[in-house]
């Protein structure tokens, strides 16, 4: 979560310095790293710069309106808000609750509500799926979906957040397709 903030700050710095790099996603474009492979939504823009813990960041209309992000957290490292660690012996329901607690404590998320928190799977890998909503600065309502799973002693989080009005429903099928196409390679 802290990583995301750092990412946003970095983004703003790069944007203001006139060096923002957004790579237009062409048809049939794949993103791949050591652990994942996924086809990217055509016509979206991918952030072409790196930030700590951020692996992939995509938006179509702008990141304040909607985005898809893959990020990672190291296990045994204290989370910034709850000051708790995710340890090896934690079960999926415990991890999902801890992550939900962590994101609920971020100051910019006002009136944070968990709409559902269920176990599911991505490419046969057990994961949690949290549906939530919150108000950004008290009046802009945002809805989000967060998938998370443990892989090689890291927590991987795949987030989709969008303005509740218009944007969330509009791009939800694209996010669902993104999740359905995500391959876990290792």
């Amino acid at each position: 979560m802290k990583g995301k903030l750092i990412f946003l700050v970095l983004f703003i710095c790069i944007f203001l310095s006139g060096c923002a790099q957004w790579i237009y996603v062409e048809q049939g474009k794949f993103w791949k790293n050591r652990n994942f492979s996924v086809s990217l939504p055509e016509g979206w823009k991918r952030a072409g710069f790196n930030a700590p813990n951020n692996l992939l960041f995509l938006t179509n209309d702008g990141f304040l309106l909607e985005y898809i992000q893959i990020s990672q957290l190291k296990m045994d490292k204290k989370l910034s808000k709850t000051k708790k660690k995710i340890s090896d012996n934690m079960l999926l329901p415990e991890i999902s609750r801890l992550i939900a607690d962590e994101i609920s404590q971020e100051e910019f998320r006002k009136n944070f509500k968990i709409l559902s928190n269920i176990p599911t799977s991505i490419d046969t890998k057990d994961c949690f799926k949290i549906n939530y909503s919150f108000h950004y600065k008290t009046n802009y309502k945002i809805k989000g979906i967060l998938y998370g799973f443990v892989l090689k002693r890291k927590i991987y989080l795949i987030a989709y957040e969008a303005g509740e009005r218009y944007y969330f429903d509009k791009y939800l099928p694209i996010f669902e397709k993104f999740i359905a196409n995500l391959e876990i390679l290792s």
């Binding site: 709850t82 708790k84 329901p93 609920s104 404590q105 006002k110 269920i118 176990p119 008290t138 009046n139």
Partner: protein, 399 residues
């Protein structure tokens, strides 16, 4: 753009004149005429807008009994008919937040966190906080701070506001913001000290046990120490807490109050306070456990269990608290107490199920999870329990 620039210039001129604004602002209690000044009216208007936003934010605790009780204490503290004369709202709202904070807006609306209420011990301590906060309103501290800021940095403020107006934001709106933000982020040390001293007088006038003033701050001091809190709002810009306790000791001494005999003569209304507050203590314990404020959560649980020694929910939360600190055996003991006191209480079974699952005692885990779901068939985490039961089934088949 031209219009925005013109607005900017207007604001510049306004601020330059404001730079000479009078700091000689009488307190509401001493002013002959109950009339708000023009900049003060804008400040109040901005506060009302902000308060509407807070009301919509979902952070306010909906507990009419508690809100009425708090507002009653507050209104008793406001002297004479100042409330009516000045149009002070005299309302207290509770924010669901376990951090230790309280703040007053210039129009007499006070916000207090559940973290403050759950840790205070009686009404006299609560009145200490409310008296301090309402003194900011009665002594018009926001207006004083606003004008003080403008006088001391008119040039820079002018520049900033001009820049804001050129970017298309409302410059006038942000003028108000400069004033009311001090209500939340804290006032100057001299104004905070004044609020402590004059708030103390309000407590005396209302017959509260003034020994409790320093005790309230000693509680906060202990929490700050236990949780290694570096800068909660309520203290970060206030005089250092030790100085404040020392100040209260001086004030008590000046009044020549005898701690042993006077506690009997003056009210602290502990029973009434705890009766109204107690249902919110466990809610606050959950918030504290969430952010790893374990010592504070434990202190609240111990107090709660003194009032409700058979509360299964309190024992369950105690178990959760200990589990979070990896004190497994102690946690089990508390979960057992939760079940002993109320055998139908479901959550402790889930906790036992998860422990047994981790210890690979799958039969026991299955038994506990089944008990949990039987007792709470619509549990929020039902899907996770079914997920774990499926895993158990798979393991049983393997065996």
């Amino acid at each position: 753009m031209k219009q925005q620039l013109a607005n900017g210039i207007l604001v510049c001129i306004f601020l330059i004149f404001m730079g000479c604004a009078s700091l000689n602002i009488p307190n509401m209690t001493s002013s002959g005429v109950a009339s708000l000044e023009e900049d003060e009216k804008r400040l109040w208007k901005r506060c009302e807008e902000e308060q509407e936003a807070i009301a919509r934010s979902g952070t306010i605790l909906q507990d009419p009994e508690l809100s009425n009780y708090l507002s009653e204490i507050l209104n008793n503290l406001i002297p004479g008919n100042i409330k009516q004369q000045w149009g002070i709202k005299g309302k207290v709202f509770v924010i669901k937040n376990s951090l230790f904070n309280a703040f007053a807006y210039p129009n007499g609306v006070i916000y207090i966190h559940t973290g403050v209420l759950a840790n205070l011990e009686n009404e006299a301590q609560l009145a200490t906080i409310l008296a301090h906060e309402i003194t900011h309103t009665l002594n018009r501290h926001s207006l004083k701070q606003l004008r003080g800021n403008i006088n001391s940095s008119a040039f820079w403020t002018t520049l900033i506001v001009t820049a804001v107006s050129v970017t298309g934001e409302s410059a006038y709106a942000d003028l108000g913001r400069i004033g009311y933000m001090s209500a939340i982020t804290g006032y100057s040390r001299s104004l905070e000290k004044e609020a402590d001293t004059e708030g103390f007088k309000l407590l005396l006038d209302n017959g509260y046990d003034i020994q409790e003033t320093k005790k309230a701050f000693e509680i906060f001091e202990a929490i700050i120490k236990d949780e290694k809190i570096k800068g909660p709002f309520f203290f970060s810009t206030h005089p250092r807490i030790k100085n404040r306790i020392a100040n209260f000791k001086k004030l008590i001494k000046k009044e020549n109050k005898n701690p042993t005999t006077d506690s009997l003569k003056f009210k602290n209304n502990e029973y009434r306070y705890m009766n109204i507050i107690k249902k919110n203590i466990l809610k606050n314990v959950k918030l504290d456990i969430k952010i790893s404020h374990f010592k504070t959560a434990e202190r609240q649980l111990k107090r709660y269990l003194k009032l409700e020694p058979k509360s299964s929910q309190a024992y369950y939360l105690y178990g959760e608290l200990l589990l979070n600190q990896n004190k497994l055996a102690d946690a089990k003991e508390k979960y057992l107490l939760a079940i002993e006191n109320k055998p139908v209480y479901p959550d402790a079974y889930k906790a036992f199920g998860i422990m047994a699952f981790k210890e690979k005692r799958i039969n026991k885990a299955k038994e506990h999870f089944t008990k949990y779901l039987n007792r709470k068939p619509n549990a929020d985490d039902k899907d996770y329990i079914l997920y774990l039961l499926k895993k158990i089934e798979k393991q049983e088949k393997k065996q």
